[in-house]
């Protein structure tokens, strides 16, 4: 379940998005400024905004500022748009558009949202684990990383899988994944580092989104996994290094590897 920040002044649009976004949670913004604040402070995975939400304000320019501050948070634009506006939105880095007449098509809106949400860390991890960890193991990682910002705990993972915590631990061992507690620690660190690539975020705000009591607690988590401090890791190479360290703790299922390499 992901968090989506949305700026849609029209009630009908809010209803449409609310229906299509299920089971994800939507946080409503009142203005562009409010949308930026929400994305900065809450563990939002994607944003949706009406291009003409505020009269006399250039929506395209707001989108450009958004993508500059939060380049890893996809923003989907909604509403009536002419050709030039759609062209500018593409240049400004919008993730997609939903034109007015498609806005009440729940299926189409859900598809667009799903594609936007797929761009996050969960998809990146899934790609990197493919060929190393089998489907069941990757499904667990995806489930956990989708809920990391909701502060998912080991018993939640076990309950979702319909097994006890000790069974889940045995399965993690079999699938070649770290123990569930360690896995969640890693996912929090990776999620945090992924977020810190966006210039609009601070270590303190990311730590708070992850449920750490302070930035110092988040720094300790980083030290316990990768070693060192988060600031030097605020670049794509830092995240890549962290991913490699995580993968080194995921030996994977040997049988799955043999199967996938033998075709």
């Amino acid at each position: 379940m992901a968090l989506i920040a949305a700026l849609l002044p029209q009630k009908a649009d809010r209803d449409s998005l609310g229906e299509a976004a299920d089971p994800h949670q939507v946080l409503w913004a009142e203005s562009w400024r409010d949308l930026f604040r929400l994305v900065r402070n809450a563990p939002v995975t994607a944003a949706v905004a009406d291009l003409h939400a505020e009269a006399r304000k250039d929506g395209g320019l707001r989108v450009l500022r958004f993508t500059q501050r939060f380049p890893l948070t996809p923003i989907v634009l909604w509403g009536e748009m002419d050709g030039r506006e759609i062209f500018r939105l593409g240049k400004a880095g919008a993730a997609d558009v939903i034109v007015s007449r498609d806005a009440d098509d729940r299926e189409l809106v859900a598809e667009v949202l799903h594609a936007a949400l797929e761009r996050g860390l969960a998809q990146l991890l899934d790609t990197r684990l493919r060929g190393r960890v089998g489907d069941e193991g990757r499904e667990l990682v995806r489930f956990a990383s989708d809920r990391i910002a909701q502060q998912v705990q080991v018993p939640d993972l076990a309950a979702a899988a319909g097994v006890s915590v000790s069974t889940l631990e045995r399965r993690c061992q079999r699938w070649g994944l770290p123990m569930p507690g360690r896995l969640l620690l890693w996912l929090r660190v990776l999620w945090g580092l992924h977020r810190l690539l966006e210039p609009g975020r601070s270590v303190e705000s990311v730590a708070s989104q992850l449920g750490y009591s302070s930035g110092a607690a988040f720094r300790r988590a980083i030290k316990a996994t990768i070693g060192g401090r988060p600031s030097p890791l605020r670049n794509p190479r830092g995240l890549e290094r962290a991913l490699e360290r995580f993968l080194s703790e995921c030996p994977g299922d040997g049988a799955y590897q043999r199967l996938s390499t033998s075709g």
Binding site: D82, G83, F87, G90, K91, A94, L108, E111
Partner: protein, 431 residues
């Protein structure tokens, strides 16, 4: 909108970075204020979205009701184009065809609309349509459509001056056609490659490819392949200055090619060869046939411009000026045709210089450069810039009529006589 637009100067995202079908809008680059183009670009974007949707999410995962509804929404917006606008009918037909919801119907409809858009000179949108058709055909193993998509992408990249990409697509099309034993598509792809070589100044390679096509056609006794080979050899011989061979191969191709428009294209090459051989009556007849019979406004306008230029080449300044004025009076018919506009101005520019009207020549060449830039036509842009530079540097040899080589041989004279005498029935409309 902000007074100082900070988005427009940004570089465009790559196709992978942009949202689905966004590239259909990229023709607006530098023309953001063109309301008509913005309207068209939006409709093309909306029309392609259902196809991209099926491609992205899978045919079985998009419900028929939602898909139909999306298409119907675009159809309702077609009224934004005038009822007489040919693009409106083409978009309506495209939407009708993609309703069938089969990979084959989608791929063929997407290729067809892409060609129409390419004809309008909007290369970015056309490329997005071709690439979508290519993805569809690769995903669903539609080999004939995959070959066509590669060939059309090769042509588009060639026109845009992206030669390496053009060569890649032509070679891929030819390889896939060979694997599928589709010799006609192979020949057409190789013909495209020969054209590319010719434009790159690699005439020997162009001739070699033409010979290869011709040999394959003869081996299989396939007239269509022979015709394509002869057409390639005609163009290559023309570029190499071997006018007799150009006429011989061109005439063989004209008689064998099954498609009228392909024949008119060859007649345009023949016209150039006849002109350079001093066989002006035959050259004039070629222009008249194309101008009166081609279904493409761009080809008709180009033929009329060549007709005017012929008078200048023949040294008849008054006749050139009359024909030029006549063409300018009818500018409404061709000025908005992206392919025609640059080419017509280029021919008129050259003609004006030949008769000594250098100011007009400069104006026409500048118009040609502007039109070629506007429509991303790298091929014409290079030629127009070269001529303007030559004009500014008074390098008259670049603009002067090609000196007539040795008098035409008996074969060229016989073919010219045939063209002159039986012109009306020479290129009959295919029944």
């Amino acid at each position: 909108m902000a007074r100082y637009d900070r988005i427009t100067p940004l570089s465009a995202p790559t196709r992978e970075q942009a949202f689905p079908a966004w590239m259909t809008l990229r023709d607006l680059e530098g023309r953001e204020r063109d309301a008509d183009l913005a309207r068209r670009a939006r409709l093309r974007f909306l029309a392609l979205r259902p196809v991209r949707r099926l491609l992205q999410h899978g045919f079985e995962r998009v419900s028929a009701a939602s898909y139909e509804r999306q298409i119907e929404g675009v159809r309702e917006e077609l009224g934004l184009l005038s009822a007489r606008d040919p693009e409106r009918a083409r978009l309506a037909e495209f939407l009708h065809r993609i309703r069938q919801r089969t990979p084959l119907a989608l791929a063929t409809a997407t290729l067809d609309l892409g060609e129409a858009i390419e004809g309008a000179g909007h290369f970015w949108a056309a490329e997005e349509f071709y690439l979508t058709a290519l993805e569809l055909s690769e995903a669903h193993r539609l080999v004939p459509q995959e070959i066509i998509a590669h060939r059309l992408l090769g042509r588009l990249c060639r026109k845009a001056g992206r030669w390496e990409e053009a060569a890649h697509h032509y070679r891929r099309a030819a390889d896939r056609a060979l694997e599928a034993a589709d010799h006609r598509q192979w020949a057409r792809s190789m013909d495209g490659l020969a054209t590319l070589f010719r434009l790159q100044g690699r005439n020997a390679d162009a001739l070699r490819v033409g010979e290869e096509i011709l040999a394959a056609g003869r081996e299989r006794e396939d007239e269509a392949v022979i015709a394509i080979g002869c057409a390639a050899l005609c163009a290559a011989a023309l570029a190499a200055g071997d006018l007799e061979r150009a006429v011989e191969h061109g005439w063989t191709a004209v008689r064998l090619l099954p498609d009228d428009e392909d024949r008119y294209c060859l007649l345009a090459h023949l016209q150039v060869a006849f002109t350079r051989l001093g066989l002006f009556h035959a050259a004039e007849r070629c222009c008249q046939i194309i101008a009166s019979r081609s279904g493409h406004p761009a080809a008709r306008a180009q033929a009329r411009a060549d007709h005017a230029l012929l008078a200048a080449d023949a040294g008849n300044a008054d006749l050139f000026r009359r024909r030029r004025l006549e063409l300018l009076r009818q500018a409404a018919e061709w000025a908005d045709e992206p392919q025609a506009s640059a080419a017509v101005h280029l021919s008129l520019g050259r003609g004006c210089f030949l008769v000594g009207d250098t100011d007009f020549a400069r104006d026409h060449l500048r118009e040609a450069i502007a039109a070629a830039k506007r429509h991303g036509d790298g091929e014409l842009l290079g030629r127009a810039e070269e001529l303007l530079t030559a004009l500014e540097q008074a390098a008259t040899e670049a603009l002067s009529p090609q000196p007539h080589p040795a008098p035409p041989g008996p074969l060229a004279r016989r073919i010219a006589a045939e063209v002159e005498s039986i012109a009306e029935t020479l290129v009959p409309a295919t029944a």
